[in-house]
Each structure stands twice: as structure tokens, then as C-alpha cells.
């Protein structure tokens, strides 16, 4: 492994089945603060299942989760949020008819008495976006319906980091974006990590992985084929890991049933 510091999130021996289908098999994963961990794998490799388990959508059957050095169990989305884990889903879950500030604080509005404290919310939203060096929004009071895909993604990510979150999980944030907007969002992902957050980036796009990832974790048919420092592997090797589960001496070896990290 690349970094010597203790990982922010550490999964060991995670298993999950849906009925007879064994989706995750003894999966290990380490996510370090300040680094972008790209989670790659073909369709059906178990990426979403792994993410949803971390987010508390459903529990893992066995395995250990260690967050900030302490063993934790995540039994619901609320608990994940309380730990500082936020997920930005692919569909973003924004309300088109509300403005940027309203969306960022949706469900967690700041109130003074019974009334909403708009000035406070707008200030905090502005500070968060400033902290992420976002300059592409004209106004915090414009409706989300008037935003471009990249700007929406920005708002969704900013909402995730608003709550002193420590780990942000992004599910294919660039899937629906054009070239310029993809770059914009990837820059933002980079800044999240530079600000000291742990980031898990699910992506199918090797360019994205090459552009922002520090670590690459590759799932292959429910097993963690390898988690390696990006510097140690080429794009070609990552593709091999995704498609066959191994690349040279990295990945799942035929003789050993379970492959660990390289």
C-alpha cells in the first residue's frame, strides 16, 4: 500500500449475498483521508453493493468495518451520515424547483424558531462552495432546473461536504457529462481529497481514473482483485484487472483462491 497512515475507512472480509447469489466475497478495502480511491469493476462486479453497504442502505453479512480506527457497524443511512459518510448517487437527488441553497440544506434546514434561517444557510452554502473553489455558479439563489449537468453535480457534491463529512462516495459522477464539465467535476473531486476528505470514486471511465485517482481498487466477480497505488499500474493493467481479475503478478492468481493487494 502506498500510504503509511492508518486508513480512514477499512473493510475486512466483507461478505454479502442476495439469496443464492454471493455478490461480495471476502472483500477488503482501504480508503485513506486525502486520497481518491477509484473503485472500478465491470457491471455486476459488486461495486454498487459495496457502496450501499457502506452507506447503510443494507447491512453486510459478515466482515469488519473500521472507521477512523474504531470498529463500527453501519445499520442505516442515518448512522452513516452521523459517522460523516455521504453518498452522491448517480441521479443526484436534487429538487429542480428549489434553488441551490435549498437543495444543499434539504431535510437539514437551519431554523431560528419556526422560520427558516435563509441568511445563515446561504452564508454556509457560499462558504462551502468557496472552500471547493467553485466559481461556475452565477447565483446561489438560482433554481437547480436552470443549471447544467456539471453544475448540478457540483451542487450535489457540495451538499455532501457541507456536513463536516469525512468520506464522500461518488457514484459515476461524470457519466452524463460532456468533456468540459467532466473536467470541472474531476477538479472538484480532486479538491475534496486535497481538503483532507476520503473519496471513493466509482467510475467506468479509465480517463477519469487516470486523471484523479490515487488508489485503484478493482472488483472482479465479487472479489477484490487488487487495490494498488495508481502510479504502479498502467491503464492497460487496470483494464485487464477489470476484465480478467488479474494482470501479470497483480490480481487474483489462479493458484491462490483469494488474491490480496499487490
Amino acid at each position: 500500500m502506498a500510504d503509511s497512515g492508518a486508513p480512514l475507512l477499512s473493510l475486512r472480509g466483507i461478505n454479502k449475498s442476495f439469496g443464492p447469489v454471493h455478490v461480495l466475497r471476502d472483500v477488503d478495502l482501504d480508503v485513506r483521508a486525502g486520497r481518491v480511491t477509484a473503485l472500478v469493476g465491470d457491471n455486476g462486479a459488486g461495486k454498487s453493493t459495496l457502496i450501499k453497504g457502506i452507506a447503510g442502505i443494507y447491512p453486510f453479512e459478515s466482515g469488519q468495518i473500521t472507521f477512523e480506527g474504531k470498529p463500527v457497524s453501519i445499520s442505516g443511512p442515518k448512522q452513516a451520515n452521523d459517522l460523516g459518510i455521504e453518498v452522491v448517487y448517480q441521479d443526484l437527488a436534487l429538487c429542480d424547483n428549489l434553488d441551490v441553497v435549498h437543495n444543499m440544506f434539504l431535510g437539514r434546514e437551519v431554523k431560528s424558531g419556526v422560520t427558516l434561517n435563509e441568511t445563515d444557510m446561504e452564508k454556509r452554502a457560499g462558504e462551502t462552495l468557496k472552500g471547493l473553489s467553485v466559481r461556475t455558479l452565477k447565483s446561489l439563489r438560482q433554481q437547480v432546473s436552470s443549471l447544467s449537468g456539471g453544475q448540478r453535480q457540483t451542487v450535489a457534491i457540495a451538499r455532501a461536504v457541507l456536513w463536516n463529512s469525512k468520506l464522500v462516495i461518488l457514484d459515476e459522477p461524470t457519466a452524463a457529462l460532456g468533456v468540459a464539465q467532466t473536467e470541472q467535476v474531476l477538479n472538484l473531486v480532486r479538491r475534496l481529497a486535497d481538503n483532507g476528505l476520503g473519496v471513493i470514486l466509482i467510475s467506468h471511465n479509465m480517463n477519469d481514473v487516470q486523471a484523479v485517482a490515487d488508489d485503484v481498487a478493482c472488483l472482479y466477480l465479487g472479489q477484490m482483485a487488487a487495490q494498488v497505488d495508481k502510479e504502479q499500474v498502467s491503464s492497460q493493467q487496470v483494464v485487464e484487472l477489470i476484465t480478467t481479475g488479474r494482470s501479470g503478478d497483480i490480481g487474483l492468481q489462479p493458484e491462490t483462491t483469494m488474491g490480496g493487494a499487490a
Partner: protein
């Protein structure tokens, strides 16, 4: 790095530019599909000019102006309730007969049970709340489409109303307190005081809001824009008050009829109170969120079902208020109270005013503006043509136009994402 125009840093401290900037911003919002009440206001002005030109002496008479308020009051209140339900993207077809049923409860409570008017009023409002609770539970918990639930309630409430009213057919209302709502007027002085309070209250609250934003270092509305808004409201309110304070009885009659009708106070209180709930509280924000993206609201931890039930309760309770207004206006309750086109007029009022049938967009004030449009049509058309067939067709067309504007502006809003 991007194709976007990168504007200045987001929270541009200081004030947003002057009047020109405000007009440009507004126009940009309208073009972006956030059209609001603009068509309704323009339509209202056009209709008043049209009817005024064709039938000036009758339509523009001071008596008719007060009459307009009387005709529109119940529709406006009913439409206010419908705004809550429409914001969710739902519909309540039973609101008209909910109004009738609650009016019947009021009449029976006053006459047969001999209850004091405040108790009878409370009983009517509670009936409305219970109707809303039932509808809300069927829609939110059982998951029956609101169209079907309220269509069933539309029939059932009609029956309930017949049973409550009983054989007689019509129950007279004799309670002075109830009758005065639609038939009584404030004194001239009280009318002016009310006007001053409205304008002063608006000026003060908006000024305080600007002050708060400035103190927090956020971009605030320019003072020139604020002044124009206050002056415009003041002109509108004071002209209306002046007109209502004129003597409007025929010269031959001996009694004097002048002053602002009491029902205006009812509508104003509801307008301010409900607007506060929808725009300034967490509940209101969540109503818009559920209407905009139900799944997003659910994931944000909002109790979607509870919120929907609450909205249906708001709708039916406001329908009860509308029922009381109808009973007060007609001096009686009959099986037709709240029937006929009452509901369609109310839905039309909300939609014409700018509330979207698709959910997530709309304000309480839409009900007032749209209700006035409906009342002007209902009031002005009979002066031009006696054929009720034409009146129905015109009203139907106006509703269609409003719904088209809604649908088009929604498409626009969806396509302007840059």
C-alpha cells in the same frame, strides 16, 4: 477550463444592481420558464380593459367592484387549499363538496343543535380536517391515486351533504356573526387603517430582510427596487380602499353601503398566514421538495407520507372556510352549495394564477390573482352575452390557456438547463 461563463465569485457581497438589473433578472426568470403570475396579471388587466370598454358603466361601477370581491372570495379560499395539494402534484376534486358538507354541518349546528356560532364554526372546520385526514391517508398510505380517491369523495360527500341537510332542502343561516363576513363592511376609518397596516407591514418586513442580508454580507435587493415595490403596493392598496370606501348604493336607496368588506380581512389573514407557512417554514420547504422530486425528498429524510396527509388536511380545512363563506353569502345552505362549477373554478383559479398542475411550483397569492380573473370573467361575461353556453365555453377556454401556459413553461424550464 469550462464552457460556462465563469461569473464573479458566488456570494457577491454588496447589493444587486439597481432597477435595470432587477427587471433583467425577472425577465431572465420568465424566459427560463419561471413565469409565475405574470400571465394572470396581464390577463386580469386585459379583461378589465375589455369589459370596461364594452360595458363600462355597469362593469366599472363601484358597486360591481365590491361585488367582484364577494363573488371571488369562496373560490379564492378554495383555491388556496388546492395550492397545497397541487404543489405535491396531486389533485382534490372533492374540495367543492367538502365546502358544501362543512357548510351543512355549520348550518345544522347553528339551527338544529342550537350551538353558539364559534362552536358551530369549529365543528365545520373540524369536519373539513377529518375529510382531509381520510383523503390523505387513502392517498399517502394506501397509495390510491388522489384523482380516484377524491372523485369517490366527490360523490360520497355530495350524499353526506344531502343526508345532513335532510328533507327541508335549504337551511337558512341566521347567525349575525356568520352573515357579517360576506355581507358586512368595515367602517371607512378602519378600512384606511387596514390599508396603512398592510403597506407598512410589507415595507417593514422587506426592509428588515434586506438589513439582515446586508449584515450577513450577502447580496441584497437594491433600495430603489424595494422602494418601487412598496410604492406599487401602496398605490394598489390605497386605490382599492378608496374605491371600496365610496358609497355604492343606488342613489334612491336610503341605507348607506360603503367600506371594505369584512371578507377581505379573512382573505388577507389567510394570504399572509399561509404564505408564511409555505415560504418561511421547514414544512413549507418540504412541500415544495416533495412536489419537485419525491424520491429526493424521501432520501433527504423528509416524512413524505405525513407531509402529504397534512397537505390534504390543509386543503379540506380551507374548503370548510370556503363553505362558511358560501353559507354567509347565500344566507343559507342548500344541496347546491359548493356544487356546480365551484371546484372547477377553484382549480382554474390556482392554475390561472400560476400554480403548476405538475407539482412543485405555485404560491398562495396565485389563488387570489387567479380567483379574481375567474370572478371577472364570471361577472363581466353576463353583461355582454346572456347565453350561458358561451360563458361556459369561455371559462373552459381560459382554463385551457392557463394549463397550456403551465405545460409550456414547464417544458421551457426543463430545456433551459445550460
Amino acid at each position: 477550463m469550462s464552457t460556462q461563463v465563469t461569473e464573479v465569485d458566488i456570494p457577491a457581497a454588496g447589493d444587486i444592481g439597481g432597477i435595470g438589473q432587477a427587471v433583467r433578472d425577472y425577465w431572465a426568470r420568465v424566459r427560463g420558464g419561471d413565469i409565475g403570475s405574470l400571465p394572470a396579471v396581464l390577463g386580469l388587466i386585459a379583461l378589465v380593459i375589455l369589459f370596461g370598454a364594452l360595458e363600462g358603466s355597469t362593469f366599472l361601477s363601484i358597486f360591481n367592484f365590491a361585488n367582484l370581491i364577494n363573488q371571488s372570495a369562496a373560490i379564492i379560499v378554495l383555491a388556496m387549499g388546492l395550492v397545497f395539494v397541487l404543489l405535491l402534484g396531486e389533485i382534490d376534486l372533492s374540495a367543492g363538496f367538502a365546502a358544501g358538507t362543512c357548510a351543512a354541518v355549520l348550518a345544522v349546528a347553528l339551527n338544529s343543535w342550537g350551538l353558539a356560532w364559534p362552536v358551530a364554526l369549529l365543528a365545520a372546520l373540524l369536519t373539513g380536517a377529518v375529510i382531509g385526514l381520510v383523503i390523505g391517508n387513502l392517498v399517502a398510505r394506501l397509495g390510491i391515486p388522489s384523482f380516484v380517491v377524491t372523485l369517490a369523495m366527490f360523490l360520497a360527500l355530495q350524499g353526506a351533504m344531502l343526508l345532513i341537510i335532510g328533507e327541508g332542502g335549504t337551511i337558512p343561516i341566521r347567525s349575525e356573526a356568520i352573515l357579517v363576513i360576506m355581507n358586512g363592511n368595515m367602517s371607512v376609518v378602519a378600512g384606511w387603517v387596514l390599508a396603512a397596516v398592510i403597506v407598512g407591514g410589507f415595507a417593514l418586513t422587506t426592509l428588515l430582510a434586506i438589513g439582515r442580508r446586508r449584515k450577513a454580507g450577502l447580496a441584497a435587493e437594491a433600495m430603489s427596487v424595494w422602494a418601487i415595490k412598496v410604492i406599487a403596493l401602496a398605490v394598489l392598496i390605497f386605490v382599492a380602499t378608496y374605491l371600496l370606501n365610496q358609497e355604492r348604493q343606488l342613489p334612491t336607496a336610503k341605507v348607506v353601503i360603503q367600506g371594505v368588506p369584512w371578507v377581505v380581512v379573512v382573505i388577507l389573514v389567510l394570504l399572509v398566514g399561509l404564505t408564511f407557512i409555505l415560504q418561511r417554514t421547514g414544512f413549507g420547504r418540504h412541500v415544495y421538495a416533495v412536489g419537485g422530486n419525491r424520491e429526493a425528498a424521501r432520501r433527504a429524510g423528509i416524512n413524505v407520507k405525513g407531509l402529504m396527509i397534512t397537505c390534504f388536511i390543509f386543503c379540506s380545512t380551507l374548503a370548510a372556510v370556503a363553505g362558511v363563506l358560501l353559507a354567509s353569502r347565500d344566507n343559507s345552505v342548500s344541496p347546491t352549495t359548493g356544487g356546480a362549477q365551484t371546484l372547477l373554478f377553484a382549480v382554474g383559479a390556482a392554475v390561472i394564477g400560476g400554480t403548476s398542475l405538475f407539482g412543485g411550483r405555485g404560491k398562495i397569492r396565485d389563488a387570489v390573482i387567479g380567483g379574481l380573473v375567474i370572478a371577472v370573467i364570471a361577472n363581466g361575461l353576463p353583461l355582454i352575452t346572456q347565453q350561458s353556453g358561451i360563458q361556459f365555453i369561455v371559462t373552459g377556454l381560459v382554463l385551457l390557456v392557463a394549463a397550456s401556459v403551465d405545460a409550456i413553461s414547464r417544458r421551457r424550464a426543463a430545456s433551459t438547463g445550460r
